[in-house]
Amino acid sequence: MKYLSIVILLFVMLSCNNDKNVVVVYTTVDQVFSEPILKDFEKETGITVKSVFDAEETKSTGVLNRLIAEKDNPLCDLFWSGDPVRTIVLKNKGITEAYTSVVAKDISTVFKDAEAHWTGFSARARVLIYNKELLSQYPLPKSIFDLTADTLKGKVAIANPLFGTTTFHMAALFSLLGDEKAKQFLGDLKNNNVVIASSNGDVKKRVIQGEVFCGLTDTDDAFEAIKEGANVGIVFLDQDGIGTLVMPNTVNLIQNSKHQENAKKLMDYLLSKNTEAKLAKSCAQMPLHKGVDTPTDVPSLDHIIPMDIDYQKTAQKLEEIQLYLKDWVED
């Protein structure tokens, strides 16, 4: 009897749960960047933020699958994504809820969902990170198509295009170039022995280590490498051509969530200039609001030629090309 009571007590202790003034947020943005912002919100509003963070896509089915599985009884109030793709997947599955934040009034409509199911802020871009020492003897690639050059055979890395922002990048290329040209390009990359890394972080690491000369990654990974003191450079590709893919963070409400009012408050907070300023400082993310204080080394969207794409249509394209991408990776 004594032992049974201990077991029950153990179980009860493990089941303890506190539900006060809270908001539950799931985010795919790296914990090291997102957590400080959420903690600031907590301090300023007194609302407890309960977060679920994501690990790298290739190690975890993570946050998005959890949101899909929880659809009928959502635990999450707000989803903060590092790119629009995942948000659009959720929208298509009927998991998101429309909300127009007054705070985001001056953000371009390009970075907002037409039906107000998501709003973009603090953008990253797809860039080329390169090892300055190793690439010094070769011409610096200026376009994504330069990556198929003979001089770069086996020396270019790209993250697994089935996951993360790389998927979005591929979908954007397909949208812009059309299926035939895009497949041609990917075929040329494969013939040029492109190295498929497990993630953008892995691309960064291989470039720093010198295993490859260069690789495609996101601006925050690239700037992180520079902050670490690595001898790497960054190129915004195709500034004379198709442009660079710009990927805003997105935030959206979850349908039928339990703390809608708090979620709206958090959403407004995330969409504010203040948050954009913090993200610009911590991970070189480019503000979408005008007149935000940014460090000098953070590029401005004013000086970057973006890819001319519709995010909704690109997300659609993504679903169409996935099987092709899977075969491409596995061949």
């Binding site: 790298e56 993570g62 929880e70």
Partner: protein
């Protein structure tokens, strides 16, 4: 009988809390409209991939078990110097997530050879997973070797050579342990996906995982997992059949003395072999982690500090419950009628299910208002760990129970000792070493578990492996290595504490 009632209650609770969510998910997939479409996607290439994965996992299991026999013999059946130290050191790969070791290995090879095409291949996968799972084989086989009655060996040594004794007496006697080792390592390696994913090697679980993460096709992933489950059922069936034909040995009731073998002129060779293995499987990757992580230890510790208490408490609580459930299952399955062996099957199936399927099943089942007190608390993780790891604990404990002579229990029956008292005062003290091993293994697995925890951890809670992996997404290598070192150190420290506590309890009077 009270104990029978206890077993029935445990069976019902396990079925309701663990099995029901899985069945619920399986049936809802089968009833989905897209079921037939998804079924059509299972084609010859799926089966080819499955067979390839089976072959790789079999090779890993075979190599681990083979190495396990060699190393366990040296560490448990000889008086080699520093063998107790070696025993602990060789367990190290178990203390850290496989993914981290894969990263360390890759970096080692790159550092020395500037080339790791070898490692990013099936060969590399076999190498890494073998080195990760061999400690498990050592533990299981070592435990069985320790339990061989010295008289059995000595009587044979009088008439045949030590080599013959090894192959014709010892190995057949420890057959249950060899098979358990093979089965466990096989299931672990066929379910592992973080390492093959990182190495870019395509195996069956990465395919399942891709369906989840890239295609969000839960239904197809569940159907593919069903194939894995069928393999596990086949394995259990063969294992059960084999075990019933194997010779069982007893803890000598006339005194349990163990036979230690002299190595003679092979002593130096054995020592060199042990050192070489220790260096290559343990020291080299850890050298890499230390080399890369030394400067960031302070920062890493600050990041991980808030997670330590939660993670230890969670793993501790789970392990206690896992060993409890494992003991109840093991005790009754040993005496069992066929009906009770069903529980054994259920445990294996749940163990073999990929963590992501288990996670999704739990979310679908527990994410209801009435059950939110479970879903939004640590209880969901504890239930998941019990589901996932009880199989291992029950296997270890049942092997130990089988080795206890019936007469020890019958003697107690005759003097009127109640069943519960017989369990408490006779059985548990005798199998205490195995209970301790089961507890430690359950703790290590619970403490470092990632894929399942990632799916289920309540918002706002901080758990160590999740923190490591979320920070890993965008942290410099040095910080990642430093965090891995801290996780490993904490695990090691806790095991030492457990060992000391166990020694203390063992030495007090019954």
């Amino acid at each position: 009988m009270k104990t029978n009632f206890l077993y029935k209650v445990t069976f019902v609770l396990f079925s309701v809390f663990v099995l029901l969510p899985i069945l619920y998910t399986l049936f809802s997939v089968f009833l989905e409209e897209s079921f037939l479409d998804n079924l059509r996607l299972i084609n010859s290439s799926t089966f080819l991939l499955l067979f390839r994965s089976i072959a790789i996992s079999s090779l890993i299991a075979f190599l681990s078990t083979g190495l396990g026999v060699l190393l366990a013999f040296l560490l448990y059946k000889t008086k080699l110097s520093f063998r107790k130290g070696f025993r602990l050191l060789l367990l190290i790969p178990l203390f850290v997530s496989p993914y981290i070791l894969a990263v360390a290995w890759k970096d080692v090879l790159y550092l020395f050879f500037e080339n790791h095409t070898f490692i990013a291949s099936y060969k590399g996968l076999v190498l890494i997973l073998t080195s990760i799972f061999t400690p498990l084989s050592i533990l299981i086989i070592g435990s069985a070797l320790s339990n061989i009655n010295s008289q059995i060996e000595e009587s044979a040594l009088l008439i045949v050579s030590p080599r013959t004794v090894m192959f014709r007496i010892i190995l057949p006697l420890i057959k249950p342990a060899l098979i358990s080792s093979f089965v466990l390592v096989f299931i672990f390696s066929i379910s592992e996906f973080t390492v093959p994913s990182y190495l870019g090697v395509k195996v069956f679980t990465t395919e399942i995982f891709t369906q989840f993460s890239a295609f969000y096709n839960h239904a197809l992933a569940v159907i593919q997992s069903a194939l894995l489950i069928l393999i596990s059922i086949f394995l259990l069936f063969s294992e059960g059949k084999y075990l019933s034909e194997a010779a069982f040995l007893s803890i000598g009731t006339k005194g349990n003395q163990q036979k230690f073998h002299e190595l003679g002129r092979f002593k130096i060779v054995a020592l060199i072999f042990l050192l070489a293995y220790l260096f290559s499987s343990v020291l080299m990757p850890y050298f890499m982690l230390v080399f890369q992580g030394m400067n960031d230890l302070g920062k890493a510790f600050d990041l991980l500090k808030p997670t330590i208490f939660n993670s230890v408490f969670l793993a501790l609580g789970s392990s206690v419950l896992i060993v409890l459930v494992g003991f109840i299952v093991a005790y009754f399955s040993v005496k069992a009628s066929k009906l009770k062996k069903i529980f054994d099957w259920i445990l294996l199936i749940v163990f073999a299910i990929p963590s992501i399927i288990l996670g999704i099943s739990f979310i679908k089942f527990y994410n209801q208002s009435a059950l939110s007190f479970i879903y939004t608390s640590y209880a969901i993780i504890v239930i998941a760990y019990i589901g996932k790891f009880t199989f291992i604990a029950s296997k270890l404990i049942s092997n130990a129970i089988r080795q206890v002579p019936k007469s020890l229990n019958e003697q107690a029956i005759l003097i009127g000792i109640s069943p519960l008292k017989r369990i408490r005062k006779i059985l548990i003290p005798i199998i205490a070493p195995s209970l301790f091993v089961a507890f430690v293994i359950s703790f290590i697995f619970s403490f470092s578990e990632l894929s399942l925890t990632m799916m289920l951890y309540p918002p706002g809670t901080e758990i160590m492996p999740i923190k490591v992996f979320t920070i890993m997404a965008n942290a410099p290598q040095s910080l990642v290595s430093a965090m891995s070192l801290i996780v490993f150190s904490i695990t090691l420290l806790l095991i030492v504490i457990f060992h000391l506590v166990y020694q203390k309890i063992k030495n007090t009077n019954v």
